[in-house]
């Protein structure tokens, strides 16, 4: 039966990745849990689908002018990466530092921001905030290009404190103003022209022009500022150095990491882990990687309480099912219709609804959305011509006595290979009864797409449609 090691590894990979098929699980199991945590937290060559192939076949993903192709481009990376934690981390920061296409009309620069999350998302939070403050997509998103030495625009300064670091209640209105002053002059190249193009959604005359950071010394307010009790002629980096020292910042970062990688709800046990992560934050010099290492090694994370304690987000739902099915590993005509599905489920990549990101957890679920979620994964995982499903069939056959599975073996086998997934007794009995419809399944001599294989596909469809599959 399912070993606890396997179940725990699957749990880790649902959190530090997009779930795992059995080959991946075995690969990580060979490393042992600690080795797997290190491998996930230290991404190397992702081996993802190469840009030259993507650009050759998908002109929209070469130009990255429009949203659907640009979201698909990121999705390809999520589907094909062998470093899933790198993408999961980028997705975390994308939700937290939520920057949206709908104001920018500039997908290339948003994808550059995502690349920055890959580059810096597991390192020092201080460096990450500096990079974020220099990110041109963020600058336009929160109007820092309108933040001038002579007349400040507080938007970025405020959200940096409220939504990106300390949270409300830990600073004064005066701190907001001083913070904004420190970021005057932090803008993007050709800021005025780029702003008018963004505001008009102008692609004229020759498509979009991507953005880069520009520091305008003459527009920077170099005067003395007092911020959180410290005084000096602070520039943006100085402000960030003060921000990251605050306990409120440690709590904020630890809490958000916990809720994304640990559990939707913070229980008493969870609160203790957050405290430990805060201690790591300070002892490591604000290293995100170390905080996550603390989480993944905690007794809480490894306990039953943390398993399936998150509602899968739409991106996890879609990418997880596609990776499990092994589909779209080569440039695929119509790939944007796959990534659009995430948007229909309420989470369009590159288009968080507001600067507050998505409302996660139970708020992912409503009846219209549930139909989309169930239909997508059910279709993806019931298709017996998909490589990942073929591999499941082969494993079921190899694990069966004489190639024959009785209904409960079929149900349990599918639950195991799509997870392992823990389901309630009621759910399992429905699955077994469903499997009984055709009696025992004889996989001897099965041929692609034949009746025996379809029976597996039908079982996988129903397992993918369970309540339990909705959880990570």
């Amino acid at each position: 039966m399912i070993s606890n090691d396997t179940a725990l590894m699957a749990h880790l990979l649902r959190r530090a990745g997009f779930g795992a098929n059995r080959d991946e699980l075995e690969h990580y199991l060979e490393m042992g849990y600690d080795g797997a945590v290190e491998a996930l937290l230290n991404p190397t060559d992702p081996g993802n689908m190469p840009d030259d192939l993507i650009r050759r076949y998908h002109v929209d993903q070469s130009e990255l002018r429009d949203l659907p192709g640009s979201a698909a481009y990121w999705m390809y990376r999520m589907i094909s990466t062998s470093c899933p934690m790198e993408e999961k981390t980028a997705l975390f920061w994308h939700g937290l530092f939520a920057t949206g296409y709908t104001k920018l009309n500039q997908a290339r620069s948003l994808l550059n921001q995502v690349e920055m999350f890959r580059r810096s998302g597991l390192g020092s939070f201080e460096e990450l905030l500096v990079e974020l403050s220099k990110d041109p997509a963020m600058i336009v998103w929160l109007d820092n290009n309108e933040n001038h030495g002579a007349s400040i625009n507080e938007n970025y300064g405020r959200e940096l404190l409220e939504l990106f670091s300390m949270g409300i209640g830990n600073y004064t209105e005066e701190d907001v103003k001083e913070c904004a002053r420190a970021f005057t002059g932090w803008t993007l190249g050709n800021a005025e022209y780029m702003a008018i193009r963004a505001a008009k959604d102008s692609i004229w005359p020759y498509g979009r022009i991507a953005w880069h950071f520009d520091y305008r010394d003459e527009d920077h307010d170099d005067g003395e500022k007092t911020f959180l009790g410290e005084t000096g002629r602070f520039n943006g980096e100085d402000i960030i150095a003060i921000i990251v020292k605050q306990e409120a910042t440690a709590r904020f970062v630890a809490t958000r990491l916990f809720q994304f990688f640990g559990a939707d709800e913070i229980t008493e046990a969870g609160e203790k882990i957050i405290e430990e992560m805060m201690a790591t934050y300070f002892s490591s010099g604000y290293q995100i990687r170390d905080m996550l290492r603390t989480l993944f090694h905690s007794g809480f994370f490894k306990s039953e309480e943390a398993r399936f304690a998150r509602v899968k987000g739409p991106v996890e739902m879609v990418v997880g099912a596609v990776r499990m099915a092994g589909n779209y590993r080569d440039p695929y005509l119509g790939i944007e219709s796959v990534s659009n599905t995430m948007f229909y489920m309420g989470q369009g990549l590159l288009r968080p609804p507001t600067v507050e990101g998505w409302h996660e957890g139970a708020e992912w679920i409503d009846s219209g959305v549930l139909v989309e979620r169930v239909n997508f994964v059910a279709k993806e995982l019931s298709n017996v011509s998909s490589p990942g499903v073929r591999s499941i069939i082969d494993r079921l056959e190899a694990g069966a006595d004489q190639g024959v599975l009785d209904p409960s073996e079929l149900a349990d086998g599918c639950l195991d290979l799509l997870g392992p997934l823990q389901v309630s007794d009621e759910t399992r009995s429905v699955l077994v009864e469903y499997a009984s419809r055709h009696g025992d399944l004889d996989l001897n001599g099965h041929q692609p797409g034949d009746q025996a294989e379809q029976q597996v596909g039908n079982m996988l469809r129903l397992v993918a449609a369970t309540r339990e599959y909705q959880l990570a």
Partner: protein
Amino acid sequence: MTTTKHEKSLIVIQLTGGNDYLNTVVPYGEGKYYDSRPAINIPQDKVIPIDGRYGFNPSMGPIKALWDEGKVAVINGIGYENPNRSHFRSMDIWHTAEPDSIGKEGWLGRAIRDLDPQSENVLTGINFGRGLPRALGCPGVSVASVGDLDTYGLFPDVQDEELRMFTLEAFSRMYGGAAGRDPVMELLGQTGQDALQGADVLRTAPAMYSSTVEYAPDALSQNIKSISQVFHAGLGARVLYTQHGPQFDTHSGQLATHAKLWGELSGAVSCLMDDMKEHGTEDDATILIFSEFGRRIKDNGSGSDHGSGGVAFLIGGAVNGGMYGEYPSLAEAEQVEGDLRSNNDFRSVYTGILEDWLELDAAPIVNGQFEKFDIFRS
């Protein structure tokens, strides 16, 4: 579920991409129009005159027929101050009734919440098309997005009908488990049951509908037909939404594209009105047609670029037909950066619809008090 056949419904058709006002309701009596549009004007002898100054686009013949019956309200110069010329942002503004900050709730989502505060009917609001427009989004409000009415529901890709029913039955049992487990599992169970129920009811709509009206095969007409089927099935749907486009973004080759789009739209609206006449429901539904912005006054040699001030339409048996509001001046001094200056806030039209048609308190939905036109027959 309550069956509320004769409650008033709102049918919304969103024109995506920015419909060109000047070539929809054409100021053919003004030389300035022809001066500004050497490449894409509608010649005077092609315009369908409304009066001596204004006329409809030549492809709007069926709309003109409804106009002549007094069923078409044209709302001139609609928009908001400080116009935004970005598709997404301006559409967001229309959807959330919030021009100055990024709104979180859709105006129709709020309306649906107020129409059905206990969420008794999962079909109070329905979108026809994939992906929920922000107008319908509101926390706690579930709105179905129907891509294809004939296959709507769970497991549409299962071709074998017997297998599908068997699978749906299993699904129902899996989502119907005992109460008292954790709240998320409870929520999933309830939501799954709602989804099944909504799909079951929706699927009955085509069978409950018959009509002699034949809708054209284009995508809009088919969506409008689905709207008619659901509306006439008496399922209690109050807000039915669909969109047309995004080809309204006519930067190039505008004349041909715009004519095709309005040809399809006029045909679909005309069919729907005929359908309602046939079913005696003309006074039970009103159609709102809007777009995120109008287009620039001067053409660009082949089409027109993003502008402000646009036009909206309200069509239906309960509508007092006519021109509402003033057509904005084309004079340069009156323009906003080369665009028509809007003189009617879109939220005033929303207010009229909410108060005089859906009988709701408009202010909390549209974020303020707005004077409204007297468009609906009392």
